[in-house]
């Protein structure tokens, strides 16, 4: 188990280096000149002199490989440079906004798990029952409605008309409800279907039959064995979505005025704030890598067969 974890962690390093290389290349391939972007964000009229001076300041006049190595060294120290727009360290700005996004992401994931696990499981073991039909309806709805539209609908009914929750902002638990529901609904749709399919598949497996012939109580078979194995694809999906949730709450953050960092990055993109965009892409890569690792570890706990094969099943 220890060697497996170590292996997985070692594998992160080349992936992360690749991610930095891609971001670095992306920034340099883009037609936007960072020096020009800086000047326009600061409302300074760009003359050739000032441009040359700024390029020197940003180290853009050095050879590419030197720039790349320098940027790696800085990234390792969590130095992502200074935002062109606010003149403050990017990392400081990002960490300031991170807690709000994490709060929202966790809120919606917890909600998604609380709803989709029982719903998907029951829909699977009671195929074509009322609850199965309900889960199907909810899934269609959740998968097809765009999140900004759902957000507006929720605000309109639950906030403007019924006055149960605030329209926007952050603060109390009531503020968290509508954005979490908006984010969670597509996840609920996805996980419910995943879990249902997986439960149905597992019910056909021989071990269920053996367990039944051994006279084990149906509740124990379902709860202890079927659910435990069937939940595995859902956890993988969850891991994939954790990265997405932490970086991709942009629309929901905008609709609900949630002061997270998705909104911050959208602003950065509009203003060509290159250091911020670079930080975002790297952070996203890091989060995806990290959340996949976590998922693998959780799956290993639930299904030890994975680590026994020495991680080959990955």
């Amino acid at each position: 188990m220890g060697t497996y974890i170590l292996k997985r962690i070692m594998a992160i390093i080349p992936i992360f280096l690749l991610a930095t290389l891609l971001t670095f290349g992306m920034i340099h391939l883009s037609p936007v000149d960072p020096a020009e972007a800086y000047l326009s964000a600061a409302h300074i009229q760009s003359t050739d002199e000032i441009l040359a001076q700024k390029r020197h300041e940003f180290g853009l006049d050095q050879p590419l490989h030197v720039q790349y190595v320098n940027s790696i060294i800085k990234i390792c120290q969590f130095d992502f440079g200074i935002s062109y727009l606010s003149n403050k360290p990017v990392w400081e700005e990002v960490t300031y906004r991170m807690p709000a996004t994490i709060q929202l992401a966790l809120g919606s994931i917890i909600l998604a798990i609380l709803v989709s696990v029982p719903l998907g499981f029951l829909a699977g073991i009671k195929k074509n029952s009322g609850i199965d039909h309900f889960s199907r309806l909810l899934s269609f709805f959740g998968a097809s409605i765009p999140s900004f539209w759902l957000g507006y609908l929720l605000i309109f009914f639950f906030s403007v008309k019924l006055d149960l929750f605030p329209v926007e902002g952050i603060g109390t638990w009531q503020h968290l409800v509508l954005p979490s529901v908006t984010l969670a609904l597509p996840l609920i749709a996805l996980y419910t279907r995943l879990l249902r399919a997986s439960v149905l598949e597992n019910l056909q497996e021989p071990y269920v039959l053996f367990a039944r012939t051994r006279g084990i109580h149906e509740k124990v078979i379902m709860g202890k064995h079927v659910l435990r194995i069937a939940i595995s694809p859902m956890i993988t999906g969850l891991g994939m979505n954790l990265g997405k949730l932490l970086t991709g709450t942009i629309i929901v953050e905008a609709v609900f005025s949630w002061p997270g960092f998705g909104r911050y990055f959208i602003e950065a993109i509009f203003n060509r704030d290159v250091p911020v965009i670079q930080c975002y892409v790297l952070l996203a890569a890091g989060l995806f890598i990290f959340s996949n690792l976590i998922v693998d570890l959780i799956q290993m706990c639930i299904d030890p067969r994975i680590s026994r094969k020495g991680g080959q099943s990955q």
């Binding site: 936007v32 326009s40 964000a41 600061a42 409302h43 300074i44 009229q45 000032i50 727009l85 606010s86 003149n87 300031y96 906004r97 807690p99 709060q103 966790l106 809120g107 917890i110 507006y152 605000i155 309109f156 906030s159 403007v160 006055d163 605030p166 329209v167 926007e168 902002g169 952050i170 603060g171 109390t172 638990w173 968290l176 905008a254 609709v255 609900f256 005025s257 002061p259 909104r263 911050y264 602003e267 203003n271 060509r272 706990c301 680590s307 026994r308």
Partner: protein, 549 residues
Amino acid sequence: MVQGAPMVMSKRKNSKKAILISAIVLILSTLLLGCTNESKENSTSNKDSKDMLTLAWPRDIGEMNPHVYNPSQLFATSMIYEPLVSYQDGGKLKPHLAESWEISKDGKEYTFNLRQDVKFSDGTSFNAEIVKKNFDTILKNVDLHSWLGFITKVDHTEVIDQYTFKLTLKEPYYPTIQELAVVRPVRFLGDAGFPKDGDTSKGVTKPVGTGPWVLEEYKADEYAIFKRNENYWGELPKVKKIKVKVIPDAETRVLAFEKGDLDLIYGEGAISLDAFKQLETSGNYQTSISDPVATRQLVMNTKKEQLSDLRVRQALQYGFNKKAMVDGVTSGLEEKADFILPTNFPYTSDIDVTAIDYNVEKAKALLDEAGWKLPKGKNVREKDGKPLEIELMYDSAESIQKAMAETLQSEWAALGVKLNIVGVELTVQIERFKANDFELNFFSNYGAPYDPHTFVNVVGSEGFGFNEAISAYPNRDELLKQIADVPGTTDEKERQELYSTILESLQDQGAIVPISYIKKIAVYQKDVSNFKFPANRDEHPFTGISIEK
């Protein structure tokens, strides 16, 4: 792996479970902790909403530093910091922190007599020393502020006595007084706001100003609360506090307003045209529309062959129904423009141009005359075998530009002109305009208090797009000389004549077509009164505003 004994296995299982459970508990408790902490703050700030005006703004107000630009928001800066001179209706320049001023005959020396009853919000007094300190700090970063003409012309600054300040220029530059009214960078920070090294371009230590408002509470990306400056030298604001909520999404702003969370929404394009109309017709709220703040223009590049002929440019102007287009696209929130600059700006009220009214027959005749004939069986005009095809570039994020481009496309198709419309990103639009890589483009001028001199200067300077776009004007050299002469004029009459000639000529030659006057909108609850748009486009509108609850 060795099979463990059952005992060990179950122990390991238990410890795993314990870790899992404690992890979940930890996550949940941080989540709840985060909530409760902030809810306390929130409830205190909402308590006294009776004397508080709440409005929404799409962006965070940013750092309240009067000497730098993005990301700080102009209206908020103008609440804290004040100018020497204020820009009022009709382009009148009124005394503000300067009681009066004298300009020397040669137009180089400006002597300001400062008000003696002004205090900064921290109690320190406003005097010539602090004015000089602010000026000198700004002048240390000339590059940063060179867009503002007079900054590059300053020779030196002097303290004459405690309340007299003198500014000496290297050459006469008449717009100096008008440029002193802009929201940044020439507004005054108190001594306590300066950092140790005195360089405000890197930040201020405290937002200390002389203005009617003081920043009381600020939470980045969430809200800012301004409280009234009780020691304000001028008219004391009627509301005690102003809360600016950051709501980036326009529809959410409308929903929050309808719920009653907001007292006011205002700005340019603050909410969609549909939402504005819907709120207006509901009868439950008050709405208002400002005077023109700028002109939406269509720029024709005369360097391109098909647009080099004046008759073609005129034909295109005769060939579309401007009023119908503006009313239709903007639902009446913008007004059809007859002049390239709004007439409520300085030196722009007396411009005599040939009116061009919608006349399709005349447009067709002009095109025929210019040699663009409609071949039998075709619907696009041709000259020497080349079709009359023009490209119009617009900002793809701006729905008004897009809708107008589509209207022009269909109107001009009836004349036999093929208009290709291309939506691009704003940065691309600006870059292509500057590089003279366009045929038709939308533009809007800077507005009060920057115009008319800034617009005219942009037309005259190379590298902004206009200078090259008017290449085919027969009087181009003369025009450029007049533009270069205007800022140095010391005689009011001579200046007015120059402006009239320049603006008339620019418009009559048809490369710059006025389309509509852009206006600001505001919606507010019924209990809000005395809302008035300031003449200065960037200034806050809270002077005199009150709530009866």
